[in-house]
Every structure is written in structure tokens, then in C-alpha cells.
Symmetry: C2
Subunit: 202 residues, 2 copies
């Protein structure tokens, strides 16, 4: 256990969110297998990603070029802008394949505990996009947490000066969700936003 390069590697891996000391140890042992193929492949991929991946200057997404694939895609509707907290949220929406507008990655949410103020969020490029006049609807796609919702109210305040439709994601019973397992807040939100069935062809 006193081999320093091994302990250094375990320590560095264990600082990655979602990787504890045990998994870091397991990963290290796998990577240091006899042939060293796995560790060399990982080093190459990390170097490649480190050198080639940057932030999209328009939206904050990860990209190989100054402007990402989504921002530069003429097939996507530039009049719809969905604001998300992180690249992983953007990826989640892209996996679902129903939104064909563009995104803006905030790179965080306002949080008093984490000392994240508006200056730490990716807001200046958002304001530039809004001033360009291209955007007609902004969908604020932030998590239904305290921080997400207070960030939403901050953004609404900031964006109401532009003549755009502002919306947020619907709250309610998740698809497949069983009522008896839902929390009170979700149930009450689902009740408040109940949908008139007369609106459907019954």
C-alpha cells in the first residue's frame, strides 16, 4: 500500500464525483493489469479530450469547435431557447429527442450555500443571444429544486425586458409514477396544474 504512484492514482480517481475510495482502488487495479492496454488507452483518450474539447462560446455546451454542433446546426429552431443547468441536462434532453430548438447552459444554479452568485453563471453570452432578437421563446428547464426554482425567478426577472414567451417545465406526476409513492409537494403541484379533459376529444 505504500507504493506512491498507485496511491496517487487512487487518490485522484476517488476525488471524481461518484467514485469512492473502493471503486478508485478497483479501477486502479484494472488499469494496472499486466498488458497496460487499458491504462494507455485511457491516457490517450484523456489527452485527446483535454486538447480538443472546449466550451461552445455561444451556449456553453462541450464542443470541438468554438461553436458547438447544436448552435451551428441550421436545422434547429433558433427561435426556441431552452436554458439548462449543465451539459448533462442538455444531454438528457437530447437523448429524449423531442426538442429541436437550441440550448443555453448556465453552468450552475444560484446557491447561497455553494456561494454561487449570478456572476459565476454563464449569463453574459445569454444576454448577447437575447439582444440579437432571434429568440422568441425561452423555456427555463431547471431542476425542481429550491436552487433551480430561485434561479428560474432570477432569470424571469432578467428576461422579462425582452419581448419573448417565457415558460418553465410542467410539474406533476412523472410518467409511470404511482400516486402512493409521490411526495406531498409533487401531488399538490399535480393537483394545482390539473388538466381540463374537455380540452381533449373525449
Amino acid at each position: 500500500m505504500s507504493n506512491t504512484p498507485i496511491n496517487d492514482l487512487i487518490h485522484t480517481l476517488s476525488k471524481i464525483p461518484g467514485v469512492g475510495p473502493r471503486l478508485a482502488q478497483r479501477m486502479t487495479l484494472f488499469l494496472l493489469k499486466n498488458d497496460k492496454l487499458a491504462i494507455n488507452q485511457l491516457i490517450r483518450d484523456l489527452q485527446n479530450a483535454c486538447q480538443r474539447v472546449q466550451r461552445c462560446t455561444a451556449c456553453g455546451n462541450l464542443s470541438e469547435s468554438p461553436v458547438c454542433n447544436i448552435c451551428s446546426d441550421p436545422g434547429r429552431d433558433a427561435s426556441m431557447l431552452c436554458i439548462v443547468e449543465s451539459v448533462s441536462d442538455l444531454w438528457a434532453l437530447e437523448r429524449a429527442r423531442f426538442f429541436h430548438g437550441k440550448y443555453h447552459v448556465l453552468e450552475g444554479v444560484l446557491s447561497a450555500i455553494d456561494n454561487t452568485g449570478p456572476d459565476k453563471l454563464n449569463i453574459a453570452p445569454l444576454m448577447r443571444r437575447m439582444h440579437s432578437g432571434e429568440v422568441k421563446e425561452v423555456i427555463i428547464g431547471l431542476s425542481a429544486t429550491l436552487e433551480g426554482q430561485s434561479t428560474m425567478f432570477y432569470l424571469v426577472d432578467l428576461l422579462k425586458q425582452f419581448n419573448v414567451r417565457l415558460s418553465s417545465l410542467a410539474q406533476g406526476v412523472p410518467i409511470g409514477g404511482e400516486l402512493n409513492y409521490l411526495d406531498n409537494a409533487t401531488l399538490s403541484a399535480a393537483f394545482l396544474d390539473r388538466r381540463e379533459l374537455a380540452a381533449y376529444a373525449l
Copy 2:
């Protein structure tokens, strides 16, 4: 999602045992944070480990030198040899700090399913150690699985030619284990190997 260096990195990470696609994605996003400190640190540690870590030629442990710290430690009892399946098992025993002999890492167990025969195990250096005559007791510290136990019988067959004490780890109720949660095989092993209390100062 079509950025190749990102997908390559996610793919490589997700092939590490214990890391699924979701964790690989999360790790990638963490590593590609703006400042790139984390990814550069990880690349350095991996390169360092890759270059400096090798297998101990005597026991198969990971080591920075041809012979590992444990094998070269004159304070450890060379007459006791504990055979383990993997370096992680060796680390587990070292963490418990009660064994002061030496180890031999088999680098696997016999397995028909994985097509692991005796030729794939680290057995030649074990035989050299046995022929040196230094070892007086061999403790076979393999897992209580089918593969572990059949490997144990194979080793017993191989080692009985040497005039050494052969032992295996005791099987029974784990410390802190509650009887009603134990499987039948463990309960029956614990019954068969029950300890005479008269042997203690009652």
C-alpha cells in the same frame, strides 16, 4: 453527443469494471470542467503509475521495483506464505494488519467458464519459492467460491510434495453476522467446524 473525443472517453471509462455508462458520463463532465485541472492531474497520475508500477517478480504484487516492499522486507516472516487470488485480496489482508508473513498473488483462479487453466496463473514463481525451502506453512487464502475452492484443491495437490503445513481460511459465521440472514451453506459450515468451548478457560 456527436463529439468524438468525448464519446471515446466515455466509452473507455465505461469499460472499467464498476463504472457504467452513466458514471462514465458523469466522470467525463467532471474532468472536462473549465479549468481542466482535474483531467491534467489524472493524466499525470496515470502516466506515472503506468511507467513506474510493475509486477513483483517474486510474488506478483504491484511494485515500483522488481521485488515488492513486502517480499524485500526482512521484518516479515518468510516461513509463512499466504496465497491470494489478486492484489486487491492482498490489500484487504494488509489493511487488517494481522498477517506478518509473505504473500503470493495467483492473478486469478481456475475457471472453466473464463477458460483460465493453471498455465494462466502465476504458479511458476510459486514453485520456485517452494523449492527454495524457506516456506514452512502455506495458507491458501482464496475466496469461498466454487472456483476458489477448486483452485485450492489444485494447489493442495501441487504443494503436498513439499514438506510444509498447508491450511485454508476458516469458514463460518462472519463477525457481526446475524444467523437468520446467513445462507444454508455458511450455517452448515459453521456447524461442522464448531469450536469446543472446553478449549477456552471457561
